[in-house]
């Protein structure tokens, strides 16, 4: 008898997991809904390009863009201000997490030219105190260089650890949600003579973002 009871309980438990999204109860003329959920270690990352469909290809916004434009030209004082080409989102209940960003240089179709650039990924997420009340924001930038051949570059192969520990003293770890923040593009400091020598046409490169849980 005990074995059968145990088997029945286990079966019910299993089925409850299979259908553990939401269960609608109907009681007379009233309806209630039970939300069944669970907490697990989870994180995701996403990057979405911004399309610029205007024939003029507006300065400072979207893709594709003109590599000769002033909005992507090198600004030695601040590499965090380039053309806004995409937005990215990171969510994690698994802090701290390590963000790895890799990029390839821009190449033309014939791959006769490589053009290097900086990419700046801004992040911004809420901080909380010991009571779980929002108590500020964490803001920063992850800057990556496409020139991995140059290991002396300060932005070579960057890895950024994001964490969200209570602003109080409890040490409580909170989730990270940085939603739709800017991804900005800026060229290396190329002399005009070099830029003029680049052939006309189309250039492309790939950006990959990886989030690894601790």
């Amino acid at each position: 008898m005990m074995k059968r009871l145990f088997l029945a309980v286990a079966l019910v438990f299993a089925l409850s997991q299979v259908f553990a999204s939401e269960i609608l109860h109907v009681t007379g003329h009233t309806k209630g809904i039970d939300l069944l959920g669970f907490i697990r270690e989870y994180h995701m990352v996403d990057i979405q390009p911004i399309r610029d469909e205007t024939p003029e290809h507006n300065q400072g916004y979207g893709m594709p863009f003109d590599i000769m434009g002033s909005d992507v030209a090198y600004n030695g004082s601040d590499v965090t201000i380039g053309r806004r080409i995409a937005t990215w989102t990171i969510a994690s209940t698994y802090a701290p997490v390590t963000i790895k960003v890799s990029t390839t240089p821009l190449k033309n179709l014939g791959e006769t030219v490589e053009i290097h650039y900086y990419l700046c990924l801004r992040y911004k997420y809420s901080k909380f105190d010991d009571s779980g009340v929002a108590s500020g924001t964490e803001v920063g930038n992850i800057i990556v260089s496409s020139n991995y051949a140059d290991e002396a570059d300060e932005y070579y192969n960057p890895q950024k650890v994001l964490e969200n520990v209570s602003t109080g003293t409890s040490g409580q770890v909170y989730p990270i949600l940085s939603n739709s923040q800017d991804v900005r593009f800026m060229l290396f400091d190329y002399p005009n003579a070099v830029k003029d020598s680049w052939p006309g046409g189309v250039f492309s490169s790939t950006v990959t973002i990886e989030v690894v849980g601790s």
Binding site: Q17, P49, D66, I67, I85, A86, T206, T208, I209, E210
Partner: protein, 235 residues
């Protein structure tokens, strides 16, 4: 282990499998950066137009494949033309929305024995809108492009060297995999159209000899005019 015990273990494992099935400690995403560089393209081509004047119809032979011979008898009656046509072919790797401007420089018809002897001429330039050329846009979309010339016809009277200009633009349409016909872009493909097509255009011209020049025409020599075509692509 008996059957019930095995079943029990399997049932117990099921929720654990469900619990961890979608969990992952790594998440990855990627994106392609698209950029371009605009460079005006200038291409120049030159060809010659030859007209020969013969004393009788029986002497007529084709001249350099450039059109019709001058007919002396017709010339005598109405001072008409030596028609010619010339196809010029240029290879344009261009983008949707580009503007292509042609300039034509016409010279006089020059006596090939005595260069100082020239004939006045009237030219007419007629270029044609090209056929659509399909370009694959991936699995679900097909694009097609064509060069569309402005409909006007440029006519100049040549007395020395005269310039004429003509423009065309790149038109584009798209068809989705479920569509039955091409429609104007709903999402502009941007400059990355992979458009690499040949532009073929015809120039039709005519040489008109004024009556006052009849007497100066030497029927034993060719008269040659040079036409220079310059093409400039701007994005």
């Amino acid at each position: 282990m008996n059957t019930k015990a095995m079943l029990c273990c399997l049932v117990l494992l099921l929720p654990l499998v469900l619990l961890f099935a979608v969990d992952s400690s790594v998440s990855t995403t990627s994106m392609t950066i698209e950029a371009f560089k605009k460079v005006p393209t200038v291409t120049t081509g030159t060809f010659e137009v030859t007209a020969s004047f013969y004393e009788s119809d029986t002497d007529k032979t084709p001249v350099s494949g450039i059109g019709q011979l001058f007919d002396v008898s017709t010339r005598a009656s109405n001072g008409t033309l030596a028609d010619f046509s010339k196809v010029f072919v240029v290879n344009i790797k261009s983008n949707y929305g580009d503007k292509v401007k042609f300039s034509f420089r016409f010279g006089p018809f020059i006596n090939q024995v005595e260069n100082s002897k020239k004939l006045k001429a009237a030219y007419q330039v007629l270029t044609e809108t090209q056929d659509w050329k399909e370009v694959s846009g991936g699995l679900f979309t097909t694009y097609r492009f064509r060069f569309s010339f402005s409909p006007d016809v440029t006519s100049v009277v040549n007395d020395g060297v005269v310039m004429a200009f003509k423009e065309c633009s790149v038109q584009g349409e798209q068809k989705s995999w479920y569509g039955s016909s091409y429609e104007p872009f709903t999402i502009q493909p941007g400059p990355i159209s992979q458009l690499n097509t040949f532009l073929e255009a015809n120039i039709y011209g005519s040489l008109k000899v004024e009556a006052s020049d009849y007497a100066s025409i030497d029927p034993n020599v060719d008269y040659v005019s040079t036409i220079v075509i310059t093409m400039e692509v701007t994005t």
